[in-house]
């Protein structure tokens, strides 16, 4: 019962945060909404006995990604007038919500059609994760590092201020 109420609160936080994220005009408020949702997700992980995941979520997602985004927002110091004005935002939201309904329905129906119950399992601790990572999941784990490297190189390439002023076209 306690779990359900925790779940409800977290779910409410997450849904509220994400709705705020997509509907808020202010980018920073959106980012806060997102942060709330991410933290909620971490809570959910904990609720699902994935402690390590929850930790990682807090550390990576919340700590790194969200903070990074906020930093970026602040870095580029976007003024309000440079932010997009989206007069038809809600119209779009409604239209796309209608469009997304079959997909949501499909996803939910599919998911709920198979599994009805949780099975008993031990808490996914860092030890379990570490064991798995270095046994079963070693290849993805290895190439994730390459992915991160690639992303880094890519990010450097993209974000680097080009010192040349060649204006020729592609």
């Amino acid at each position: 019962m306690l779990e359900i109420s925790i779940f409800s609160i977290l779910a409410m936080f997450m849904l509220g945060g994400s709705i705020a994220m997509i509907s808020n005009k202010q980018t920073l408020f959106s980012a806060f909404g997102f942060l709330v949702a991410m933290i909620g997700l971490a809570g959910m992980f904990a609720l699902l006995d994935s402690r390590f995941l929850a930790l990682a979520q807090i550390m990576v997602s919340v700590g790194a990604v969200v903070v990074l985004s906020m930093l970026t927002i602040l870095t580029i110091n976007a003024k309000e007038e440079n932010m997009p004005h989206e007069p038809n935002k809600f119209k779009w939201i409604i239209v796309s919500s209608i469009l997304v309904t079959p997909f949501t329905l499909l996803l939910y129906k599919t998911l709920s059609s198979v599994h009805q119950n949780f099975s008993e399992m031990e808490t996914v601790s860092s030890k379990v994760v570490g064991k798995l990572l270095f046994s079963e999941w070693v290849l993805p784990f290895e190439i994730v590092s390459i992915l991160l490297l690639t992303a880094m190189v890519g990010a450097i390439v993209i974000a680097r201020k080009s010192d040349k002023t060649s204006k020729e076209q592609s």
Binding site: M21, T104, H115, L148
Partner: protein
Amino acid sequence: MTPDMFFLLTSLLFSIGLVGLISRRNLFVVYMSIELMLSSVNLLLATFSKVLGDASGSVIALLIIAVIAAEAAIFLAMIVHIYRENRTIDSDDFDKLKEGNSNA
């Protein structure tokens, strides 16, 4: 607490992410929507992990978190670059490549 609730939550989060992605012009929000979608997949994986009693789901989710980080890096770099060049992060402002504008 049944998996059903988590599934519902996942579906909703994913759909909200999708809606945000489509309906918003602010590239930051677009980026966050994508992250939200990925995170909801993570939630799903964690749920499955518990449903199946198999820690692999959590490991996959962990890997996905790494992917999220990678995407974040490149996305944010892109946003910074685009903002620096164009002074805007409104995705609708980028339509030079539209059909009939092939002199761009």
